[in-house]
């Protein structure tokens, strides 16, 4: 609901030119004159578009930023936020290059997933795919670059918590009646793929090889495919500890994957991507590694 409202507000800004008239947005984005939480530049006033937004002055005073969290709180998992960039002298900043980086200061690390920033117009930027991979103290580093001028601010979130629902989504337990077949059609029925571990039973913590056979829907071997492999543990949200390599054997639709390794017991999903003659398709195999 709030997201819709944001889009509406953005459209309004686009049409009306800017932020000076937000006082007409009765009730929803009442004018707020507030001190920012910037570093010692307390006398700069920011006109807030949203009651519940967080505001920060960038380090060199160039911009003031408003951060809106549609779901009220950031949580462990995937988040979306909205950022409104104002000039510190007033007026909104359009067509800026905004980058957002989640960071865990106590651990000195971020996340692999990159937030995706989309400009909505009128100084409003929506930021999707803000992934906070664990609970604890997080920061969002927001960098704004425009016309050779770059400045940044850090929003601090001392305690990010897990939400039950998100937890379940990111870390799904194996469904009942999992299909452990080692021969399957790809999603769009273009290729038939089968695999077998060359050393027999797949054992945990061993680097080993797989033999793949790829055929087309008529059962003819596909010898010219480009094949990539991705391993994933849906319950834990992480992948293989190695980077496997695929070798095309050149005959019989045979391919060899070297460097497979599973370092945790349980449900693994190994996805084989096949690209041949300009056609791309993929198949996922379930494994129960003990």
């Amino acid at each position: 609901m709030k997201r819709l409202l944001l889009v509406f507000v953005a459209l309004f800004f686009l049409l009306s030119g800017c932020a000076a008239r937000e006082d007409q947005m009765a009730g929803h984005s009442a004018e707020m004159e507030g001190m920012t939480e910037g570093h010692g530049h307390g006398d700069v006033k920011v006109t807030k578009h949203f009651d519940e937004s967080l505001t920060k002055l960038t380090d060199n005073n160039l911009y003031s930023l408003e951060l809106v969290i549609p779901d009220e709180h950031l949580k462990m998992g995937v988040n979306t936020v909205e950022i409104i960039v104002h000039h510190s002298t007033g007026g909104d900043v359009a067509q800026a290059d905004v980058t957002v980086t989640p960071w865990m200061p106590s651990m000195g690390h971020g996340v692999m997933e990159k937030p995706v920033v989309m400009e909505r117009g009128g100084g409003l930027y929506s930021v999707e795919n803000v992934v906070l991979s664990m609970t604890g103290h997080w920061q969002l580093q927001v960098k704004v670059a425009k016309d050779d001028k770059t400045d940044e601010a850090v929003f601090d979130f001392p305690e990010i918590k897990a939400m039950g629902h998100e937890h379940a989504m990111m870390h799904a337990p194996p469904p009942k009646d999992l299909d452990y077949a080692t021969e399957k059609m790809t999603v769009n029925d273009i290729f038939k793929v089968s695999y077998k571990s060359t050393g027999g039973l797949i054992r945990i913590n061993r680097i080993h090889s797989w033999e793949l056979t790829i055929r087309d829907a008529d059962g003819q071997p596909v010898n010219n495919a480009k094949v990539t492999v991705v391993g994933d543990m849906p319950e834990h949200g992480h992948g293989l500890p190695t980077q496997p390599e695929v070798f095309n054997m050149g005959v019989g639709g045979f391919y060899r994957i070297d460097g497979m390794k599973f370092q945790m017991p349980g449900w693994w999903v190994v996805t084989i991507n096949v690209m041949a003659d300009g056609v791309h398709d993929a198949v996922s195999f379930n494994l129960d590694v003990l």
Binding site: M76, S106, M107, G108, H109, G110, V111, M112, S133, M134, T135, G136, K161, A162, H167, M170, H171, I204, N205, I207, E235, H236, G237, H238, L240, P241, T242, Q243, P244, E245, D258, G259, K261, Q263, M264, P265, G266, L290
Partner: protein, 422 residues
């Protein structure tokens, strides 16, 4: 209830009849018997953790001396040799104490000075793919060389090491590795090494001829290979847990007293089940050998230890890695290095899962000794119950007690094949 009665009666011998009758009278005791009943799937997991499932020592293709008993005997002497240090007081055994399961009791080890991390336990270390907490080397022999030139640890150089070998270990060295050149003081500098943290030693190193450098490196590497051959022999013996698994798997659990108490068995059930400890602590050495960021508080907030992330380029660029010219392996044998995961983001702040063999007997814990007791470690994991990567579920105080009890059952004496030849 009736079913249970029949099961008991069916299973009982004449003597057992009385026992099962008492079980029915005493619900506590009846439940205790259930503690030792495992499903087929659980038995498979127990078997996978059993010491009997441990493979023979893996061949180290990069060290052709790794199973040479003479090399191991020399390596043992070098391991305990104080001369390989700036103050003549530090040996490998300073921080890897034989009387403390080859680690020490300090949060951060003390060699020449205080190191940033804790000493690693060496039990079954030869089964690892990567060495040190961050895996910055890919073989035991190259691992052994790192501390020698580290200012905080042994604080000497490879040229000094070659001198010491030549002076005190010439005969044993030559028996294994062949002729040893003379390292004369007027031709070889005493402190020369390719070090970025010691300009004097670096200058001395580059002023040597390429042939001299190669000669010194050769001796230095052989020294590491001898130490590696010894350290390989440090292995665990069966613990009460292993005896218990034999009792369970043999299918005759009632013939003698169970090797685990009821409480320990409850802990074991949590360990492989609800508490999900086997996510990382799996296999007969209770480690998957991979690197994980647990969110353990850093020792220095301002300078967090990047762990594995900082080690990836180190191991790839090391002159002493499996691909290097001092390795005895063919490059296709260097599987770990070939398929190394190079994502620094994935491994920031990540450290190697240590073995849990003898874990309760060698506090403190974590890579910088952040926790003084096993209980603190368990409490920490409980506090992280919401973290999906750790996901230990909600555990009660009683369940922590049981897990702790179980961990005690992983203790055993050490088996060092070389111990008698000291």
């Amino acid at each position: 209830m009736k079913k249970r009665i029949w099961r008991f009666i069916g299973a009982a011998t004449a003597a057992g009849l009385l026992l099962s009758f008492m079980n029915m009278m005493n619900p506590d005791s009846a439940r205790s018997m259930d503690q030792h009943t495992w499903t087929d799937r659980e038995k498979l997991v127990l078997r996978s953790l059993w010491l009997g499932s441990l493979d023979p020592l893996p061949v180290d293709p990069s060290n052709k001396y790794s199973d040479n008993p003479r090399a191991a005997a020399l390596g043992k002497k070098l391991f305990f040799e104080d001369k390989f240090s700036g103050n003549q007081k530090v040996s490998c055994a300073t921080c890897h104490r034989e009387d403390y399961f080859f680690t020490d009791n300090l949060p951060q080890s003390h060699g020449m000075d205080i190191t940033p991390r804790r000493s690693m336990p060496l039990i079954g270390v030869a089964y690892n793919s990567w060495f040190f907490w961050d895996g910055r080397t890919d073989s035991l022999w190259s691992q052994a060389l790192g501390p020698i030139e580290n200012k905080l640890e042994h604080g000497i150089s490879r040229t000094m090491s070659a001198y010491i070998i030549g002076k005190y270990y010439r005969r044993e060295y030559e028996e294994v590795f062949g002729a040893l050149p003379d390292f004369m003081e007027d031709t070889f500098p005493q402190h020369a090494r390719p070090a970025l943290d010691d300009p004097e030693a670096l200058k001395a190193w580059i002023l040597m001829t390429p042939e001299q450098r190669a000669e010194v490196n050769r001796v230095y590497v052989n020294m590491g290979k001898a130490i590696g051959a010894f350290v390989r022999t440090i292995l665990p013996e069966p613990s009460p847990f292993d005896i218990y698994v034999e009792q369970i798997v043999s299918g005759k659990p009632l013939k003698s007293r169970m090797a685990l108490t009821d409480n320990e068995a409850r802990g074991l059930r949590l360990f492989i089940g609800k508490a999900k400890c086997t996510n990382c602590h799996n296999g007969p050495l209770f480690t998957n050998g991979d690197f994980h960021n647990l969110g353990v508080p850093p020792k220095d907030e301002k300078k967090p230890d990047k762990g594995r992330a900082a080690a990836i380029t180190q191991v790839l660029s090391s002159e002493f890695n499996c691909f290097g010219k001092y390795s005895d392996a063919r490059s296709e044998q260097c599987l770990q290095l070939r398929f190394i995961e190079t994502s620094e983001e994935k491994y920031t702040g990540a450290f190697k899962t240590p073995t849990l063999r003898n874990v309760t007997e060698r506090p403190p814990y974590m890579h910088a000794g952040q926790f003084a007791t096993v209980r603190e470690v368990l409490e920490f994991y409980r506090s992280k119950a919401q973290n999906p990567e750790l996901g230990h579920d909600k555990l009660t105080d009683e369940e922590l007690d049981q897990l702790e009890a179980f961990l005690h059952a992983l203790s055993s004496p050490l088996k060092s094949l070389q111990t008698d030849e000291k």
